[in-house]
């Protein structure tokens, strides 16, 4: 992610989101269940991608806090789909060499006897390449 324009284009392309459709109402952020955990909130992801400020987003732990619950996607009156922007920024990070957020070595420490398989599978899917 050395060149900001390339990074922005990559995020726009892989998310498939038209950030210009946003009317800055903030409903995504109003409905977000992960608000308290996030440094940048859903509407900021959309706005900052529009401005090309991918580096700040990529460096923020916020990209791992999104719950992929699609509340912002369904409730956005403009059809912007902020969750897809968050996922695209996260992907842009973890696709880089050595940037996996979760490693298989981390898993044994997280396990408990009731934990469903899908939790580990999805965590690895979301946080590693």
């Amino acid at each position: 992610m050395s060149h900001s324009n390339n990074a922005t284009e990559q995020v726009l392309r892989s998310s498939g989101v038209d950030v210009r459709k946003c009317m800055r109402c903030g409903k995504c952020t109003a409905t977000c269940p992960a608000f308290d955990e996030m440094e940048y909130h859903p509407h900021q992801f959309v706005y900052m991608v529009e401005k090309g400020e991918i580096e700040k987003l990529a460096a923020s732990p916020s990209i791992y806090k999104c719950l992929s619950c699609f509340a912002c996607v369904d409730r956005c009156p403009r059809g912007v789909e902020p969750a897809k922007v968050v996922e695209a920024v996260r992907l842009a990070v973890i696709r880089q060499q050595g940037q996996n957020h979760m490693k298989s070595d981390d898993i044994p420490a997280l396990l408990d006897e009731d934990m469903p398989q899908q939790l580990l599978v999805s965590a690895m899917r979301k946080y590693s390449k």
Binding site: A34, D74, P116
Partner: protein
């Protein structure tokens, strides 16, 4: 009535009850779930990115398998349902994804989203009918106040899932009525429990799931039901509540007298 059936990995291990009671009830209600041969894990989370292809392949394989069997594909786990249904939508509507997936799989007949994907609850509502279920109930759960927890995956994105009104769903409430209990209407039933971060951010998961469980309790529920093994784990483990969380199939089996 016979359907292709995709159980998914959790239903073979930690979520056995969801599967077992689902199959017993199906038998009692007169429909057959034929497990797909050689199914693979769906990946447990839908890959949203347009340029993610490899992560969608296993879902497509299941869809192709059902198509080739000439059957509708039934899922039971909310997460599997979400992944398979959304991937199917991509195959039907996103020409670029469909082309790349088909190029990779090299199928005899390319796949373009032909399979109908049904959640088990949709089979109950649209194929069996809640009236028929009501008639088949042997032990009605009279007097029970049950809170249906939809979570996110069954309902959203609404345009793709086409499961129910994503903001005011009724399918589980009607299911609860059919088995003789009283549904609780509560605001958090379609809000996220934070299940996806339960492994790496337990604090966030605890916070979300306790908000959900508290709301169920406050609205007078005695039980919470779900179709999702991840939600069940998270709500029961991290929700900090004494309310029992069970699979909807378990109550169905109980009401049908096959538990």
């Amino acid at each position: 009535m016979k359907f292709s059936y995709y159980p998914g990995c959790t239903l073979k291990t930690k979520g056995k009850d969801l599967d077992r009671y689902g199959r017993l009830s199906a038998e009692a209600l007169g429909f057959t779930l034929e497990e797909l041969p050689d199914w693979q894990c769906c990946g447990a989370v839908y890959p949203m990115a347009k340029d993610e292809i490899a992560t969608k392949l296993s879902a497509v394989r299941a869809l192709v398998s059902a198509r080739d069997a000439g059957e509708e594909l039934v899922t039971l786990c909310s997460a599997c349902h979400n992944v398979i249904k959304q991937t199917n939508h991509d195959m039907a509507t996103d020409a670029d994804i469909a082309l790349r997936v088909n190029n990779y799989l090299g199928l005899e007949t390319p796949y373009n989203g032909e399979t109908t994907v049904l959640h088990y609850l949709e089979v109950l509502r649209d194929r069996v009918g809640f009236d028929k279920i009501k008639a088949a109930v042997k032990n009605p759960l009279t007097g029970r106040k049950i809170a249906a927890y939809y979570g996110c995956l069954l309902l959203r994105p609404g345009k793709v899932m086409q499961f129910d009104d994503p903001e005011n769903p009724t399918i589980l409430e009607n299911f609860i009525r059919a088995i003789g209990a009283e549904p609780v209407i509560w605001g958090m039933r379609n809000e996220c429990c934070g299940g996806y971060v339960a492994a790496e951010n337990k604090a966030q998961a605890e916070k979300r799931s306790s908000i959900v469980m508290e709301d169920a309790k406050k609205n007078g529920a005695d039980t919470v039901i779900t179709a999702c093994p991840l939600c069940l784990y998270n709500l029961a483990k991290n929700g900090g509540s004494d309310l029992p969380v069970v699979y909807f199939t378990e109550l169905l089996a109980e009401a049908l007298g096959v538990k």
